[in-house]
């Protein structure tokens, strides 16, 4: 590859073994899993194998896995599905200020339908306080949705504690585990959640496919109405090729996570320490210890993230930025603002998400190139005053 890819958050490359499984699928099986004949049945077997592989990754039972088109659909399905399923019980939902847009905007839709939403503040590290969750509960509360790990700053939330509170009050608990699954161990029994979202493109599977874990007995009404596929939770003929990719990626991840985690954390440490040593006036975002092993969010003072991202891109280094200018909405990141960061500093934020194929040499290349680019942009910035020494 002619570039250094440090934006795995946006989508991981397909693992060769995942590719192989998907290609084999395309070449051999075309049937519809709902057909009870000799062409349909092999397809049904393939579907159930992938379901078992996906369930095993998060320690769930296979019938509790519903395949979706990805993290966004899983989050929409979980939240709107519970809202509809429990509408006679109550209309109040609790969430945090730093959730993914697919959670926040699902709740926006529910507000239009007269549901009430309490969105909790986070601390400077982006952590949600379980005590604050408990205080927000009302007799009308039907659902709590807090992410397992934040996709912009990497902070891991105390989901097991929050789920315990939810259980005590007989409230459904959903966690968006898209950024976490495949990068750290995720176990639905340990977490104690009713619903969990995951996406294949975060762990070397294809984009456009994910899953929602629905604990048996959770009242989730379908979003997509039609036939009886996916245990009547998600109608429509299955995306079999994508689902095979998800299953294969899940099987690989289950084996690889311990080693993957350790290796990525070492690479991230190298990057983080290197940046801190070479570039003054930066902030490392997120929780200092409870964080994703592969995600480093850095805010660089006095400059804007999109120009930094473009200059790194020109040097063959691919990263993401969270500046307002680079977002479709032209708004500063709600996550960074949620942690109390000022707008100007939030504008200069880069998010590095590392992956299996990254090497020490690639990290060193970033450390070689980035300080000069930062300096060039700072020299160009009216906000930058050279330090007196």
């Amino acid at each position: 590859m002619g570039f250094i890819y440090l934006d795995h958050q946006s989508g991981t490359p397909l693992h060769p073994k995942v590719q192989e499984a998907m290609i084999q699928q395309i070449q051999t099986i075309f049937g519809n899993p709902s057909s009870d004949h000799q062409v349909g049945q092999p397809a049904a077997a393939v579907l159930e194998k992938a379901r078992a592989q996906t369930a095993a990754l998060i320690n769930a039972n296979p019938p509790e896995i519903v395949f979706t088109s990805g993290g966004t659909e899983s989050n929409n399905q979980a939240i709107k599905g519970v809202a509809i399923g429990l509408r006679e019980k109550g209309r109040h939902i609790i969430t945090s200020n730093i959730e993914h847009k697919s959670v926040l905007n699902s709740l926006r839709t529910l507000r239009l339908l007269d549901y009430r939403v309490t969105s909790l503040d986070v601390d400077q590290y982006g952590s949600v306080d379980p005590g604050a969750v408990e205080k927000a509960i009302t007799p009308e509360t039907i659902l709590i949705s807090v992410m397992l790990a934040n996709n912009e700053i990497g902070t891991i939330e105390p989901i097991a504690k929050i789920a315990e509170i939810a259980k005590k009050h007989k409230i459904v608990m959903h966690t968006d585990a898209v950024a976490a699954t495949g990068n750290i161990p995720v176990d639905v029994q340990e977490l104690g959640v009713n619903l969990l979202s995951l996406a294949a493109n975060q762990f070397y599977g294809p984009s456009g496919v994910g899953a929602l874990y629905i604990r048996k007995g959770t009242p989730v009404w379908p979003l997509l109405d039609g036939g009886t596929q996916e245990n009547k939770r998600r109608a429509g003929t299955e995306n079999l090729i994508g689902i095979v990719g998800l299953g294969a990626a899940a099987a690989l991840a289950k084996e690889a996570i311990p080693a993957r985690q350790a290796r990525l954390r070492a690479l991230k440490e190298r990057l983080e320490q290197g940046i801190k040593a070479r570039i003054p006036e930066i902030h490392v975002n997120g929780h200092p210890t409870l964080n994703l092993p592969h995600l480093l969010s850095v805010s660089v003072e006095y400059i804007e993230g999109e120009s930094l991202m473009l200059m790194l891109d020109d040097e063959g280094i691919v990263v993401a930025t969270r500046s307002a200018c680079a977002s479709g909405s032209l708004r500063a990141s709600h996550v960074l603002i949620g942690t109390g960061m000022d707008f100007a500093t939030a504008q200069g934020t880069l998010v590095f998400t590392l992956g299996e194929e990254n090497t020490d040499a690639e990290i060193d290349r970033v450390l070689e190139v980035m300080p000069g680019i930062v300096q060039t942009l700072r020299e160009m910035s009216p906000l930058y005053k050279k330090s007196p020494h």
Binding site: E304, S307, M311, C325, L330, A332
Partner: protein, 172 residues
């Protein structure tokens, strides 16, 4: 995103970056909350812009716009320079992505502000150094439909009250 080759050229090798210590006029526009901030320094000889420099905090488009406005204005008379519009800068850059036309296209505003500052100084008006003004102020934290003025949810695709499409580049 998709910037034109001219934008990328001006972004990667911006012309006339810097400050003019004894500038005759200084224009400052934007603020970092909105994403972009630009300072333009001019040196005037007779009625012509003899030298011009800029400093910009902003995205690729903002830096390219800054570079281009200095190129367009250099050597022009003040009267000619006052006629340069933001849309002329965008055109000279081979176009800008639609969402950047609103946010980053501050070049002509900054240039005009610098010329005005020069004329004010020349006429003896004492000018306090202006703070950059927000060019699209927040209206509280809420969003309002620009057509029917009703309060709407953030990033709504259309207004549920009047049915009109919400503009993409609207920062509320």
């Amino acid at each position: 995103m998709a910037y034109s080759p001219i934008v990328m050229d001006h972004f990667k090798t911006p012309r006339n970056v810097g400050e003019i210590p004894d500038a005759d006029g200084l224009g400052e526009v934007g603020n970092p909350v909105c994403g972009d901030m630009m300072s333009v320094y001019i040196k005037v000889e007779g009625d012509r812009i003899a030298d011009i420099k800029f400093k910009t905090f902003g995205c690729g488009a903002a830096i390219a716009v800054s570079s281009m406005i200095t190129e367009l204005a250099k050597g022009k008379t003040l009267e000619e320079a006052m006629k340069i519009k933001n849309s002329d800068v965008a055109k000279a850059l081979g176009g800008l992505p639609p969402n950047k036309l609103h946010c980053s296209n501050l070049g002509a505003d900054a240039l005009h502000s610098a010329i005005k500052n020069y004329l004010d100084r020349k006429s003896g008006k004492v000018v306090a150094k202006e703070e950059g003004e927000p060019h699209h102020p927040e209206r509280g934290a809420a969003c309002y439909c620009p057509y029917c003025e009703k309060k709407v949810e953030e990033e709504s695709p259309f207004c549920i009250f009047c049915g009109k499409e919400m503009p993409h580049d609207h920062d509320h």
